[in-house]
Amino acid sequence: MTMTLALDFAPPGKRVRQESSRDDRIKLGFMAVIGLYLIIALGAPLAVMLSKSLSTYRFDLAAFEFQVSDETGANWGPVVTAEALNQQLGAITDEELDSSSDGRLAATKFFPDFSFRSPVQYRIRGTSADTAFLAGSTLEKGTEWREYDSGTFRRVVLRPASSLGLENFKTYFSTPALARSIYNSVLMAAISTVVTISIAFALAYGLTRSCMPLKGLFRGILTIPILVPSLLPGIALVYLFGNQGVFKDWLMGYSIYGPIGIVIGSVFFTLPHAFLIILTALSVADARHYEAAASLKASKWRTFTTVTVPGARYGLVSAAFVVFTLVITDFGLPKVIGGQYGMLAVDIYKQVIGQQNFEMGAVVSVILLVPAILAFAVDRRMQKRQVALLSARAVPYSPKPNARLDAICFAFACLVSLFILGMIAMCQIAALVKFWPYDLTLTTKNFAFDLMDGGGWAAYGNSIQLALLTALFGSLVVFAGAYMVEKADGFRLGRGIFHFLAMMPMAVPGMVLGLAYIFFFNNPANPLNAIYGTMTILVVSTVTHFYTVAHLTALTALKQMDPEFESVAASLKQPFHRLFFRVTVPVCLPAILNIAIYLFVNAMTTVSAVVFLYATDTKLASVAVLNMDDAGDIAPAAAMGMMIFYTNVAAKLIHALIARGLLARTQAWR
């Protein structure tokens, strides 16, 4: 309290330009370092990926030349290009010339009287060094003539040449099933967002504005979904509502495989994300606003709509975009429970993993970036209107008991907790039974991971190492970065770009990020090539993958600090680092600890990006869950998933202890 009082003397709202140019230089240097990090860890790999979406493949008929012998095989006819032959024959339409990286075109198509038992000999060559064709399955390139008997020539296929263009996008939008995925994805994401945000807001409201009992317990339960790998809700939903499900009848004949499963699962796994952001936004309320509302005799509803909601507006919008992009980019859940319901992220999986068509996968990724760019634009607009809530004169709000409101809030929190705990309980049962649903004897055999797929207990150790490193480096980088965006003066453009980069990871499906990392880092020309296949690349990719939410958390915390702190520090001629370490860091310590734990638990559970990046000695527990599930070992998969869950719970408890100890010392003013 003493601090805020002292600051009351500063002229309100006005920013005093910092005089110290040394300060500016340090800040600039800081920003450059962290900006560089984001560019290398995100910008450059994505640029490589984007260029993939523009690389198109088309058969260049003018690049192939043929020569055909007569029946004796000794006398050769004139040299003709495939293009000339096609003009005569019209064998291949212009449309058919558009192809993919794996495109093949049989050379015999240009020779209508081809017979593979004839003694005729064939020659083929390219007109440039890059021209490629296959004889059988052997790759041939270049301008040298190659001669084949008719039996072998039957097996000659031409390969397309690559160039740049927008054809991939054209192909995408003209394929009805693929374009339909856009509609499906947006619909699912929109429904899930509305449901999740409503639930999360109601819960956060209950926790901050009512006097319901057991707040701490509910807060704990509500973060549970974030502690389990995303595959677990899929397994739980199948066991609960699948064809053999315990509560199958609740769905009244509808199948869990499809939109219903996607929405329920999405709400489950996005709820903590939304809840945490909205809780942060609601937890800093200025009691004076409520006092004002009360003295103006505003109704409860009016107070709610004019004080509570606007105060949390920034958090609500952030949360909505986080949920929307999480749902639209997640592939794990729709893959397990989505049935036939086509979604964009699953399309990427089909293109990249199923057909190794990286270009098409990149196209879908680019489309998925659209929500992120939208989110960025809206976020910018909102930010301009956001007023610092925790002004230097704020008085913390504390709710007064209200029997009816408290009861309603309590009942609702119980209901949501029941849903979450039910899902987890189902996973726990899945991890312990012998063979669902036919042999329900209990066993601990499912925890003998060394006998299964995925790297056994060593993978579990690796995961913990990854999580610790990610939490440590991630919270440092993220908080410093957010501070530069929010509190630094000047470099508007640099800060804008930085913030834009920080918003991107959210919208980049992990799979896309992982592949982009392969293309970017596993390039012998890249000086950073050495980190490929190491723990470092796993840490970098994980920090980057979860950057946005961490960044938003830091930003929300920083935004709630009055800019007057900076002005006062400047007018007192204090260097920024003193303010940073003496005021900003202590005030934001809860947020920093939250970022660290957020990164820790996500590093434990993440799959999509790291699945492409782990190497022999960096196998991960979360990947093991996926692999065991794929191999049909559902019970061990659930068991490993539960191990991750226990670890995250333990981490959470340690976090809570540390936080309590530190907060007692630094947050007394709250």
């Binding site: 192809s99 993919s100 794996d102 495109g103 093949r104 296959l134 059988g136 399955s137 052997t138 790759l139 390139k141 097996r155 296929v157 390969r159 099933a177 339909r180 199948v238 699948g242 064809n243 053999q244 495989y257 499809g258 939109p259 893959k335 049935g339 036939q340 319901y341 086509g342 999986y349 089909k350 990249v352 993993i353 199923g354 057909q355 190794q356 990286f358 012998k434 063979f435 649903p437 036919y438 299964m452 797929d453 995925g454 790297g455 592949l515 392969i518 293309f519 596993n522 390039n523 296949g533 699945v611 492409f612 190497a615 022999t616 000695d617 692999n627 794929d630 191999a631 049909g632 559902i634």
Partner: protein, 340 residues
């Protein structure tokens, strides 16, 4: 210790170490072989060749193939041991494989060896398309077990069959390419049109349908024999059925990645991978192996699986994959939305 001593020491070390490095080489081996088998494969090989250490990188076929192709410009693997032949063919057409005829390759069944000389890949074993039929659920619904592919189009199975999506699973593609090779385009597509009416879901993994049948989520899973045998051992009430018309199949195979720094060790591994001993090792899980006369019956599987395998032209399948998948997606993806 002064600086000079250090230099001397370093010199002495470098004189000693190359021989050690030569004696003990490490191979990075990419594989999609079931993880249960990996330690056994590694131990058996390293017993025969104690001077070579295997470092596995394992994932599903699709992920491994995508990873290998993505690493094309700077390959990380020395050897691929245990990946679908179709995937290896894809790598071969990109010029990523080193042709090498392992010692003793003549002994292998010809259909398990790449047709070129020297071959770019040599097979280990085969997985064969099969149906997993849940007897408990089938009885509840009063169904009879199917015996042929044609049976699957019967109306009583409507909504009870799952199969892998050929656009996302190699197993799915081997089913479809098997039908097209067996029956020709016209009959195959008309069969799939009717089959599509009965399918409740197309999955993204090839073993999943069998798994779903095993857990009663579906009655019939179109999958392959390996996960079937495995689910049955785990206690799933399923029968593994090989359709009477014959089955598409895929070979698991070995290849050397072109440009590997450990060519000699890689050759040693591939030489060993075609030996009788190695094939006996594959036979523990796989009923059909590349070395004739080695295979013994595997638990839960019939002994005559090899006779169910159709003539599979890998090259044809690779060359026609894009066309087949395009047609498949046109026919079934757009209308594969749930009816509810």
């Amino acid at each position: 210790m002064n600086r000079r001593m250090l230099f001397l020491l370093a010199g002495a070390m470098s004189a000693v170490f190359p021989t050690i490095a030569f004696a003990q080489s490490e191979l990075t081996v990419y594989t999609a072989v079931e993880a249960v088998d990996l330690d056994r494969y590694k131990a058996t090989f390293e017993k025969a060749h104690p001077d070579i250490t295997i470092n596995w990188v394992r994932d599903s076929t699709g992920v491994m193939t995508a990873k290998l192709l993505a690493e094309k410009d700077n390959p990380q693997a020395d050897v691929v041991w245990g990946l679908a032949a179709t995937s290896l063919l894809l790598l071969k057409t990109e010029g990523m494989l080193e042709g090498y005829a392992p010692k003793g390759v003549e002994a292998l069944d010809k259909k398990f060896v790449d047709k070129d000389n020297p071959p770019s890949w040599v097979g280990m074993d085969a997985y064969v398309a099969a149906l997993c039929y849940n007897t408990v659920e089938g009885e509840k619904l009063g169904l009879k077990a199917p015996t042929s592919w044609e049976d699957l189009t019967k109306p009583e199975y409507k909504g009870h069959i799952v199969m892998p999506n050929p656009a996302s699973s190699g197993t799915g593609f081997l089913d479809v390419s098997g039908w097209v090779q067996m029956w020709g385009e016209e009959k195959a597509w008309s069969f799939m049109d009717k089959l599509h009416e009965n399918i409740s879901a197309y999955t993204h993994s090839g073993s999943k349908p069998c798994k779903m049948a095993g857990a009663g989520e579906a009655v019939i899973g179109v999958s392959f024999e390996f996960p079937g045998a495995k689910a049955k051992s785990a206690g799933a009430p399923i029968d593994i059925i090989f359709p009477s018309e014959g089955s598409g199949w895929e070979a698991e195979a070995t290849a050397i990645i072109a440009g590997t720094a450990n060519l000699e060790a890689a050759k040693t591994l591939v030489d060993w991978s075609v030996t009788k001993e190695a094939n006996e090792m594959y036979n523990v899980g796989y009923a059909v192996v590349a070395y004739p006369g080695v295979a013994k019956a595997v638990e839960h599987l019939p002994s005559d699986i090899a006779s169910k395998m159709i003539e599979n032209d890998f090259e044809w399948a690779a060359n026609n994959r894009a066309t087949i998948l395009k047609e498949w997606q046109k026919r079934y993806d757009a209308k594969s939305e749930p009816k509810s």
